[in-house]
């Protein structure tokens, strides 16, 4: 399988502070990968670096195209959807407008309408609330909306930053089930950053563990889940 995303020697900086110290990893097409680590390890920074939302050096290649010089919006247009930490919902707009915004770069009007219906199938609660202001939705609902919005792009690669944050366990389970479905059926490559390592490892094929800006562990999700030392040292369980 070919590598869809190739990251080489990625270093990222917040002002004078260096957050990533030379990351190397790749994502295979069609895979579901999770990036794990403690708070402040650099997981969010990695996703932000891929979308050029933080100053970085190194090389990031997506399906042959170099990402590092491009603006965030141009990177998105290449087919990368990013569900940020905190969800980034357009709170002042309706649920349906949020979905329309997800597809704002697409031209095929009938396709967009059809996709909105598909999102309502995936997430029935959104259909119920589709004329409601997005800011009035609960945390779990906003998370579903954020994922749906990302899917409206018809992305090739989807990046999710701590989707389980602040959500009740049952809702997280549902959400992860849907993510798995999307990965298998819609063939969307997914990279999920998570603090909830256990659930993430159940969902993913591949896993990377990051600590203070460096990748310290990589491998199949099952191996890492079964490796007690790794779990105790890096994942806390």
């Amino acid at each position: 399988m070919t590598a869809m995303l190739n990251v080489k020697d990625l270093r990222a900086f917040y002002g004078q502070v260096q957050a990533l110290h030379g990351l190397n990893f790749s994502l295979d097409e069609g895979s579901l990968t999770t990036l794990l680590g403690a708070n402040g390890a650099g997981k969010t920074t990695t996703l932000r670096a891929i979308c050029n939302m933080v100053r970085s050096t190194g090389a990031i290649e997506f399906e042959g195209a170099a990402l590092l010089g491009r603006s965030t919006e141009n990177i998105v247009r290449l087919g990368i959807a990013h569900v940020p930490q905190g969800r980034g919902t357009f709170t002042a707009m309706t649920v349906e407008e949020n979905l329309q915004l997800g597809a704002i770069t697409r031209r095929d009007r009938t396709g967009i309408v059809a996709d909105i219906e598909r999102m309502y199938d995936h997430f029935p609660v959104l259909k119920q609330r589709h004329t409601q202001q997005a800011g009035t939705l609960s945390g779990g609902e906003q998370q579903m909306l954020a994922v749906a919005r990302a899917l409206m792009l018809r992305p090739r690669l989807m990046l999710l930053d701590e989707p389980s944050f602040g959500l009740a366990p049952l809702i997280v389970r549902d959400l992860f089930k849907i993510l798995g479905k999307i990965n298998r059926e819609d063939k969307v490559t997914i990279l999920v950053v998570e603090q909830n390592a256990q659930l993430a490892l159940e969902l993913a094929d591949q896993a990377y563990v990051i600590e203070t800006g460096r990748i310290v562990m990589s491998g199949g999700a099952k191996e890492i889940a079964n490796n007690e030392d790794v779990r105790k040292s890096y994942l806390g369980y």
Binding site: T91, A92, Q133, G135, T136
Partner: protein, 337 residues
């Protein structure tokens, strides 16, 4: 239009100046002081007068810096307090025969009171709304000064003429030179006091409010008190500057204190570097000299030239003179190695 709430995360409208960068280093300060002390001995009276005005406007910009750079409150109304200070001094001197030096603290206290009072209703306003409110104050002031009701004190549209004081104890210096040194002493005193204020507990309270009002309040800072205090202090200092200005220019008139003055002081603050007190004097130099330069380049297009020069400055140093100082400090550090 929906009635839902707009959630605003309190971002920083005014950026912080790190404490150690708040002043020039001791060495630089001494050099500057030496220059300020010695230059008047070798130049003509008119230049001395301009230097006096530079100090006076510098003090006014410094006051604005404390308010905006320190406590994060915008003000386009400083010209009003400057006017109150100027008229207080003029009226005290001309109508009541008070000694010019005494008028300064009186003007300062009156303006402190005025600022403190204005700060009360201003508590509920911030950002663009506060700018509008202070703007209203600035536009009202010249009109209030022209009101027939006050004419017997203010001299109405024509204003009042002020006597320039002689050097005391028969010192052998011109009126301009004496006034310059008098102003210099006051300026240095206010400068040092302001730096100490910003470094004190009150100063920290100001800056906490500037950076994050909600957090400051939840940490026990009495936001209302400190905000009005900041207004009061700023107005008081501006009032002293206004009083000095009245004496230096030798007259006060309503149309000398229009919104144009308030805008100039604002520009002086930006050019000098918001929150950086030494920059107040760079900003003051800018607002005194650059309009003259613009007019000498082209009489008909002086406004356009001024605007272009202003753009050049803000493109090159968006953070004001402070940026230049930082570069200078870095160079100096490198040379020392």
């Amino acid at each position: 239009m929906s009635a839902a709430e707009e959630i605003v995360v309190e971002g920083q409208a005014v950026e912080a100046v790190p404490k150690r960068a708040m002043t020039l280093g001791t060495g630089t300060s001494l050099v500057v002081l030496a220059v300020l002390l010695l230059v008047p001995l070798v130049v003509k009276n008119f230049i001395i007068f301009q230097m006096t005005m530079l100090l006076i406007y510098g003090v006014a910009v410094l006051a604005l810096n404390i308010l905006t750079g320190g406590s994060g409150q915008f003000s386009l109304g400083q010209s009003a307090f400057y006017a109150i200070g100027a008229y207080t001094s003029a009226i005290l001197m001309e109508t009541f025969g008070v000694n010019y030096a005494l008028t300064l603290p009186i003007a300062g206290i009156i303006c402190f009171g005025a600022g403190f009072l204005f700060g009360q209703p201003a508590l509920r306003l911030s950002g663009v709304y506060l700018a509008l409110a202070t703007f209203a104050l600035a536009t009202a002031m010249p009109q209030l000064l022209k009101l027939g009701y006050f004419e017997k004190w203010t001299g109405g549209v024509q204003g009042l003429v002020v006597e320039k004081p002689d050097a005391p104890f028969g010192l052998p210096m011109s009126q301009d030179m004496w006034l310059y040194y008098f102003t210099l002493v006051i300026t240095v005193a206010i400068y040092v006091a302001s730096i100490n204020l910003l470094r004190s507990r009150s100063g920290r309270a100001f800056m906490a409010i500037r950076d994050n009002e909600i957090a400051a309040s939840s940490m026990g800072v009495n936001v209302a008190l400190y905000k009005t205090l900041a207004f009061g202090v700023s107005a008081g200092i501006t009032g002293v500057a206004g009083a000095l200005g009245a004496i230096a220019v030798q007259f006060v008139a309503p149309d000398s204190y229009t919104i144009t003055l308030a805008i100039s002081l604002f520009l002086g603050m930006v050019v000098g570097g918001v929150g950086w007190l030494p920059g107040s004097f760079v900003g003051s130099a800018f607002i005194i000299f650059v309009p003259n330069i613009a007019e000498s380049v082209s009489k008909g297009l002086s406004g356009a030239v001024f605007g272009v020069l202003l753009f050049l400055v803000i493109f090159l140093v968006p953070h004001g003179a402070r940026q230049v100082a930082i570069v200078g400090q870095q160079l100096a550090a490198r040379l020392r190695r």
